[in-house]
Every structure is written in structure tokens, then in C-alpha cells.
Symmetry: C2
Subunit: 257 residues, 2 copies
């Protein structure tokens, strides 16, 4: 017992539709802006605690819709990435950033080694083990899961507006990303979609792709949506409709194995 | 079923003394030079298949002795690192090297993606999961395991003799290594012992330390022994006696936590 989460706060990992018939496993590491009570505000202002540094606004809502539409499974973290960023390994300082974009995070700068390890033990490791176990069980059952991590990004970063609307990100395995990009840029082009933008492997954002996709030999992709495009239910639905087509066509275009 | 190991070949992972009372968890990724039958000789000569590129000669024997002496647990891989090097992640080409020191490994150069994935699935993932699960269970039981990975290195590398006799290796967490080096270099100095030699983190050799030690916040160290010092039973016993003292004193010097 390292004592970060209270019993009332419950499990850090939520799994929805575990018995899905479809191949898609959606992972949302930055689904929530909720902080474990024991961390207080980490010294942040209410504005910062609502902002994109605490979570990926809209990402969970779009992931939920895709999970339903494609009969996939969704695994998400129930606590803020400010407490622990589950898309970073424990050995990375970025997992508990002392600085995020323009915000200092005092509570992350001053924590003890024991507190940091408690965050690893109670937020990262259960999440990591849940996703790894899930894809491993699926493989053992003779299925081929497809890993899709769902993120959103801020339209203005360090004061600079971003033109890219959707990022299709990959690490060494670009099988699925290549096919989705081919679909997205053929015929009517609906969005400004780019490969490995606004982030890419060099920014350390492909941790989940490597851990749960590449290690298991699974098709995998990370989707980054500019968060002003998914601010409300209607726009989230529009985005999910679009991504549903892209994912389904992308997977259909993969070699039989 | 991806079909690399036959049923007769059995489990790729061996766990000895799982109910140990002591804190030490010895891990030996390069314990064996045995190749899965289906891989044949990988196109290598008998000489290469006996050499240090296939395994770490003597490492398992010393690890077994330490396991007994310190009432620790030992987890080792039963197949050669030429089939899959369990101290490397699947996304690294070094996990199935096409070239190892001066030897080409034809069977690793020509394998298909499916065969490579079978090696990951049947050699790496079960090993990874066994060690991760073991240390995780120990922690959950309120104990503090100490991770020690056991290796040996060739006295002559690319034609150059090596002076270092024992390497004490670490990545970002040097707590245990620092204390062992302090003990080793105080009073009578028995061996040429060096920090992060002949390899270090930049060579990618700290994968196991990171995966099973740092991620769980456990004291951890990698021991590299020059293999000419552990060629037979007597010399292995001498080395184990020495390392027993070093490990016990190193752990005793750690802060209570």
C-alpha cells in the first residue's frame, strides 16, 4: 500500500465493452482531468486544471462513440495526466512533468521519490498491465486486435496557431497509418490530415504504440484531433463518423496477415 | 499458435526457488545456448554456436550459486539469445541480431516478419511477463525485491583484450551499484571492477533493469563478469563467494526506504 488513491476513488483503469466482436482496441491515456484527492491542485490554477495540460478534451467522447460504432473495446485512464501521464514510461521525467507548455506544475516539481513511485504504482502500472493483458489475451484467443490510441491537441501552442486538424501518428510500424493516410488524401479531402504531426516519435508520444502494439506485432495507430474540432456532442459525432470510415477502410486495406 | 517452440521443448522460462525468503531476484537472459529446433543452426558454424554470441558462458552457473547462497529467486531464459535476446525490446533490431561481434547470423538476416513475431511471442513476451509478474507480486505482498541481472562478457572483443574483470552496470537508478562499487573499492581490492563497463546504458543493455527494476522502483543492478574468470566450477564458486559479499553489503547499505 503506497497510499495515493483512496478506496472511494476506485480503480484507475476503466474497460468498456471488453467482449467486443470487432478488432479495435481504443486506448485513451488522457481521458480525464480528475486529480486524485490526495494531490490537491498540484499548486495549479483552476484555469490550468481545466486546460489541455490536464487532459485531452474531447478525446474520450470521440473514443466512446467509435467504440460503439465499431463494436470495439475502450480502455481509459480515470485520472489526469498531471498525476501520471500514461503515455510515458516511469523512467521518463515527462510522465510527471514539472512544466507543461506554459504552465509550471509545482506539485510535480517538489514531490518526493516515494510519492512519484506511488503514482507509478497506482496509476501507470495498473493501466499498463490492463492494456497489455487485454491485447495478450486477445492474441492468445487467435484474434488480431488493432490498437488505436485517441488523443486531442490544443489549437494554439506556445502562442502559435496550428493548421493541422488531424494527426495520424506512428512509430516504426506504419502499416495502418499509411493506409489511413492513403484513404484520407484520396478523393474528397475533408480535413488537414498529416503524418506524425503535431507530434511524432521523436517527441516521445509513441510509448503506448510500442508497448501495446509493436511489441505484440499488432496493427497500430495514434490519432490526434485538434480539440476545437470536438468541443461539443455534435462535432464529436461528426468527427467519429469520419474516423470510423478511415479506420474501417484502413484496416480493410491491410494484408490478410 | 505461431509455431516456433515444440511442445517437447517446453516453457521458455525457468523459475527457481520462487518461494525464496531473501530479497534477491536474479535474472539471466542469456543463460542458454540452446536453439529452438525449428531454427536449425541459423546458418552458423558449430564454433559460433558455442561462443559468447549464443549465450553468456558461466553466467547461469554463478547465478544459480548466488541464488542458493542468498536464498534468492532465479528466473532464466531457456533458449539462446540468437533466437531472441531477452535483454532487448521487440522494437530493437538487436533483439534478433543479423550480425553479432564478428559473426554474421544468416538465419536472422533472412527471416520473415511472421517468424520474427513468433520469436517475440514465444520467447520474449513469456519471459517479460514472468519477471514482471514476479516482482509485481512480491511488491503487492509488501516485500521489496532487489533485481540483479547476471551476465558474462568475452575477454577478447573484436580482437582487443579487455582489462576490466567485473562490470557493475546501472541506468538512471544507481543506488545499489554505487554502494556495491564503494564496497568493492574499499580495503583489499580483489578485482578490476568498473562502473558501466564494458557496456553501459548507451549500448542498450539496461532494458531488463528498466523494465523490471526502475519501473517498479526497485533497487537494481546488472553484473557483467569476464567469462574467462568463471570457466569451471571452482572459479564459478570463487566468483559467487565474492559477489555474495558485494551484494549483501550493497543491499545492507541502502537506506531503509
Amino acid at each position: 500500500m503506497t497510499g495515493l488513491l483512496t478506496q472511494a476513488e476506485g480503480d484507475p483503469v476503466a474497460i468498456e465493452n471488453a467482449d467486443a466482436k470487432g478488432p479495435f482496441v481504443f486506448v485513451c491515456e488522457h481521458a480525464s482531468r480528475r486529480l486524485p484527492e490526495r494531490l490537491g491542485t498540484l499548486g495549479l490554477s483552476p484555469e490550468a486544471l481545466e486546460s489541455h495540460i490536464a487532459w485531452d478534451p474531447g478525446a474520450l467522447a470521440v473514443a466512446k462513440r467509435l467504440t460503439e460504432k465499431l463494436d470495439g473495446t475502450l480502455i481509459h485512464q480515470r485520472f489526469s495526466r498531471l498525476a501520471y501521464d500514461c503515455n510515458r514510461p516511469p523512467e521518463s521525467d515527462a510522465a510527471t512533468p514539472a512544466m507543461s507548455e506554459v504552465y509550471e506544475v509545482p506539485g510535480n516539481r517538489t514531490m518526493s521519490a516515494a510519492e512519484r513511485q506511488a503514482r507509478v504504482d497506482e496509476l501507470y502500472l495498473p493501466f499498463h498491465d490492463a492494456v497489455a493483458q487485454f491485447v495478450s489475451d486477445r492474441k492468445a484467443a487467435g484474434r488480431r486486435p488493432v490498437l488505436v490510441t485517441m488523443h486531442s491537441f490544443t489549437p494554439v501552442y506556445f502562442g502559435k496557431p496550428r493548421a493541422v486538424e488531424i494527426g495520424i501518428l506512428h512509430d516504426a510500424d506504419s502499416r495502418l497509418a499509411d493506409r489511413m493516410l492513403a484513404v484520407a488524401t484520396t478523393g474528397e479531402v475533408a480535413y488537414d490530415i498529416r503524418r506524425n504531426e503535431p507530434y511524432g516519435p521523436a517527441d516521445g508520444v509513441t510509448h503506448s504504440l510500442i508497448e501495446y502494439g509493436i511489441r505484440y506485432g499488432l496493427p497500430n495507430v495514434m490519432i490526434e484531433i485538434r480539440n476545437d474540432l470536438i468541443r461539443d456532442e455534435v462535432s464529436q459525432r461528426v468527427m467519429a463518423d469520419y474516423l470510423e470510415g478511415l479506420l474501417a477502410k484502413g484496416v480493410a486495406a491491410l494484408p490478410a496477415k
